[in-house]
């Protein structure tokens, strides 16, 4: 039983980290209706820039501020060079553009900053300790608190500020939003900037776990089942989806793995996502689109 609990808890912690990545996708999906394939590349870029700055002697907050600034610049550039020329195109075109964008960002990051694997130490111990019979890592607890705080801050920003109302308005009806004078380019720049800062937070926590390297970019693939399960347009959905994926794949690994002689965690989330697509295509918290034809 303790073993089950421990696996479950470890899975839930991992799930929050998936949710953290998924939030970045949700933000952009809400504002521009596109699955931003480049979100993973943004995670990698942010982590790599941060770790390079720290290795050159910058302190944590200076590096954090500079990297955030770079993510804002990236957002402005993406709006001007990708989104604006492609506005009013269908979502598939935009998706392909973000696919291209992911290669540009990955390539540029490695071209300028190299392809070495960097160790990232955030100064948080990542050693499991005994809490009443359960071994839990302090790092997991801190990371979870950061994710919870981030979700709370985003929630407050989107419910209490005028820009938050504008963002939700754009998500509900883009044409009506434009017709009352909401500036779509401004909304896009803001949302991509916020998604960039979320990518930075994700990049730091993931980078501290597995080193800052190209494979960070591939968290995109891990976020996909999370989004299918939680729904593409809901931040709480991203978190719940992350928890479901994390917990189920950890449990599947120990209970199902031995039956198939190997690790199932690499593919279990996708099977689960396919099952959700069959039963509840919009995800747990997503919008079922009803379109007038």
């Amino acid at each position: 039983m303790a073993y089950f609990l421990e696996t479950l808890i470890a899975g839930l912690f991992a799930g929050l980290m998936y949710g953290l990545v998924a939030i970045g996708f949700v933000l952009i999906y809400k504002a521009s209706g596109v699955f931003n394939f480049a979100q993973g590349a943004m995670v990698f870029l942010a982590a790599l820039v941060f770790v390079t700055l720290v290795e050159h002697g910058a302190n944590f907050w200076v590096a954090f501020a500079l990297t955030s600034g770079l993510m804002v610049l990236t957002a402005v550039a993406v709006e001007a060079l990708v989104l604006r020329p492609l506005r009013n195109r269908d979502p598939l075109t935009l998706f392909m553009a973000t696919l291209g964008l992911s290669f540009v960002i990955d390539g540029a990051a490695q071209f300028f900053l190299g392809t070495d694997v960097h160790m990232l130490d955030l100064g948080i111990d990542d050693i499991a300790e005994d809490y009443g019979g359960l071994f839990i890592s302090w790092f997991d607890i801190v990371a979870s608190l950061i994710v919870v705080a981030l979700v709370a801050v985003l929630g407050i920003v989107f419910s209490r500020t005028r820009m938050g109302v504008s963002l939700r308005a754009v998500a509900d009806d883009t044409l009506a939003a434009q017709s009352i004078g909401i500036r779509l380019p401004v909304i896009w720049r803001i949302v991509w900037s916020v998604a960039g800062v979320v990518a930075l937070v994700a990049g730091l926590l993931w980078g501290a776990r597995q080193g800052v390297q190209f494979s960070l970019s591939l968290v995109t693939l891990k976020a996909l089942p999370v989004l299918i399960i939680g729904g593409f347009s809901s931040i709480p959905g991203a978190i719940v989806g992350g928890l479901i994926v994390g917990a189920s794949e950890a449990l599947a690994d120990i209970y199902l793995g031995p039956l198939v002689d190997g690790s199932v965690s690499t593919w279990f989330a996708y099977i689960l996502a396919v099952a959700f697509l069959l039963v509840r295509p919009a995800g747990l918290f997503g919008d079922r689109d009803i379109e007038r034809v």
């Binding site: 500020t161 939700r168 044409l175 939003a177 009352i180 004078g181």
Partner: protein, 255 residues
């Protein structure tokens, strides 16, 4: 009186089908102008051209002294052209109050950073916007629904929210696309009264589309009749009512 809006030879076609055919007319400042005509006459297309949802193939639009070949919806809003939609295009998951606040977007000056950290222009703007939203909500009798999510409200109330969202930004010109569609006679009379009050109290120039000719004759001071994208008649309600072309467009004619 000077004209606030003038259309000069505006044409629009969809894949060869002419929705608007060299249409010209003027709307005087402060009047209520109704567009009537059978289905497919081009009334909604015309509103969509005026606020830039559609781009005219040819012709000019003169609004408030400036001439445009084409305008974008956002720019139209910032110049003071507000509108409602035939099928309520409200922000369905937002509350009534949030919808109305969103309507003030064109007056927003505070930046996102000021919004988040509540400094600079944010405080004054917040108070100002809250006051304006409350005023319009009260004016349209929506106080009871203030904090309700729009999707949960009955259709007639949603129509009012749509009007509130457009009205709150104090547009110079208000385009209403079938504000009374789907309403019963009582609701229509109510909406009619509200539109007249808006016109009087705010001095807003209004261009509206309405099918109920009885309502239109009592409400509008200027009527433009469209048929197949062309202007059939243009004048006061009395003049239009007796125009043989109008009677032909509505009732058919003997060939």
């Amino acid at each position: 009186m000077a004209s606030l809006l003038e259309l000069v030879d505006v044409s629009l076609s969809f894949r060869g089908v002419k929705a608007l055919n060299a249409l010209s007319f003027a709307v005087a400042e402060g009047e209520i102008c109704a567009l009537i005509g059978p289905n497919g006459a081009g009334k909604s297309s015309l509103l969509n051209v005026i606020n830039g949802v559609y781009r005219a193939d040819s012709g000019d639009i003169v609004f408030d002294g400036s001439r445009f070949e084409a305008i974008r919806p956002g720019r139209a809003a910032r110049l003071g052209i507000g509108r409602t939609f035939q099928h309520n295009a409200l922000f369905r998951r937002l509350t009534v109050r949030e919808n109305v606040l969103a309507g003030l977007s064109r007056h927003g000056e505070a930046s996102f950073v000021e919004n988040i950290f509540r400094f600079g222009r944010d405080g004054r703007e917040r108070t100002d916007f809250a006051g304006r939203a409350d005023h319009v909500i009260a004016f349209l009798g929506l106080e009871a629904e203030r904090e309700r999510i729009v999707a949960t409200l009955p259709y007639g109330i949603q129509k009012r929210v749509d009007l509130a969202r457009a009205l709150v930004s104090e547009p110079k010109l208000l385009l209403l696309d079938e504000p009374m569609a789907g309403m019963n006679q009582d609701e229509k009379r109510d909406m009619s009264r509200i539109i007249t009050e808006v016109n009087r109290a705010f001095g807003t120039t209004i261009v509206l589309i309405e099918h109920d000719v009885g309502i239109v004759l009592g409400l509008a001071s200027h009527i433009v009749v469209l048929d197949y994208g062309r202007k059939v008649a243009d004048g006061t309600p009395e003049a239009v009512r007796n125009d043989p072309d109008v009677i032909a467009a509505y009732l058919g004619t003997v060939h």
